[in-house]
Symmetry: C2
Subunit: 294 residues, 2 copies
């Protein structure tokens, strides 16, 4: 199967998890009715982006997988006969949590998980406090519609992850994400950051000749500690083709439900013109496993 209809939900997320989940249920139903094969939600879609501060109370919302949230999404996948990709704050063991993507098949079964490998930590994004770095590695998830190279947010800045997924036969790359700007930054810097985020992912598409899907949240979420001015999530969820060409782009400041058809056979075609994988100098790449070449 090379033609895939991607459903993208770019929500504004509020404090009321039940209300968020109910809205997703409606959006999933609507996109599935329009023919979506796979629906992708943004990173940690259940509620506000809690990593804006370090608060031990937040560990209480972590859940095992399977668990209540994953059961809920599994049911939505099955009821709508659609694949579904969500991210959950996974409680793997006592005091051992991950930022984990889960892919459900049309029957509601878990096709696979990806545990976020690169964990950020900068003002407003204190993820190293909450998330143990993933140990599954860069392993794509096999599904009835293809092999999905699922990664999460901060991973999107790393060409290594994209390449490892491509080398493992991923048919496309998918990044649920939660990224935005703070009003402390001037407008030029905000523009540079958003464009850098789009550009680096389009770059992964080009370097690996794969479609790339990025799904972000939108809207403002305050920092309850008042340490920062909160985050304006910049939306801009997008799909690009294997030459980095933009196929669909969501608005910055509004919710979106998008349905985008891609054809992963395009990857073969582009790789025949531009056979990058043929010419990799694997004999000289060993130092990529060094921290620094000093």
């Amino acid at each position: 199967m090379s033609k895939i209809r991607l459903g993208i939900i770019q929500p504004e997320i509020n404090e009321n998890t039940l209300e968020n989940l109910t809205r997703y249920s409606r959006s999933i139903q609507s996109l599935a009715a329009k023919g979506a094969d796979l629906i992708v939600l943004p990173e940690l879609q259940n509620g506000p982006y809690f990593c804006q501060s370090e608060d031990v109370a937040n560990f209480d919302i972590a859940e095992p997988i399977p668990g209540p949230s994953s059961d809920y999404y599994a049911r939505l996948a099955k009821e709508n006969n659609v694949l579904l990709l969500v991210t959950l704050f996974e409680k793997r063991g006592r005091g051992l949590c991950h930022n984990t993507a889960v892919v459900f098949g049309r029957d509601g079964g878990i096709r696979g998980k990806y545990r976020k490998m690169h964990i950020p930590d900068d003002p407003g994004y204190y993820e190293k406090f909450y998330f143990t770095p993933g140990d599954i590695g860069f392993k794509p998830i096999d599904t009835e519609i293809g092999r999905l190279g699922v990664m999460i947010c901060w991973d999107q800045w790393y060409p290594e992850g994209a390449r490892l997924m491509a080398l493992a036969g991923a048919d496309l790359l998918i990044y649920p994400t939660a990224i935005g700007y703070t009003t402390d930054d001037d407008p030029d810097e905000i523009k540079r950051q958003r464009e850098a985020w789009i550009t680096v992912q389009r770059g992964h598409a080009v370097a690996n000749n794969l479609h790339v899907v990025a799904v972000n949240r939108t809207g403002y979420e305050p920092d309850h500690t008042k340490a920062t001015k909160g985050i304006h999530f910049w939306g801009s969820s997008f799909v690009c083709g294997p030459q980095g060409e933009i196929l669909a782009m969501g608005r910055e400041d509004a919710e979106e439900e998008m349905l985008v058809e891609i054809d992963t056979e395009r990857t073969d075609k582009v790789r025949h013109w531009w056979p990058f994988l043929r010419d990799r100098r694997i004999d000289k790449y060993g130092d990529l496993t060094l921290r620094y070449r000093d």
Copy 2:
């Protein structure tokens, strides 16, 4: 030294090498007089892009380094008190040739060489016939204005090369190149290819927080074998900053002499906001040295 004035020469190149070299001499003098610290010429600037066909006669133009061409450029560097980056068809031994970048210092001395690592081979770009893959590896060149991550053309599609240069402390990345389109392609495909070429290099800038400089030729060069319709080199030489932001962009279809000031201290600033190098998962990158993960 963090502020660098880059001189870029984007020429239309004709069959008369002496005339090409004379024009470069004038351009170098002019850019140096305007304050350029480093002047970059496109890939294999001495004459037409001879790799459009496989012709053993072309091996006769390969030269040792040092040799007549490198002596000529060394003198230009010294006379104009400027650093100079050129690429030469290097005859390293009998029947052993490379596509080699050479950096000359202000005194005309050779600061270092880079031998093209990734060698393309597709219709119109038969480089595997002429060029032995480089064995110096991804080793930046130390100069009086900084550590230059010099690579060549096809290398620009490979995130691995950019990353290895960054890990070795490169202050910026520089790609002399010779790339264009054939009129066999439809206008949409031409646009996608040119934009993919720009995007993937901007992506290296973002992923490594480094300035990137790409210098291409412009104009049409026929394929004397008539096997293809020849190449329209698409110019578009550009400089982007460490967030991928375009700082200067040459025209597609006209010669250019550009002078662009950059400040490599910007790399530190951006790396403090976005500490990508801090979070690389070197424990899970080992498979990057595999041909394919099957």
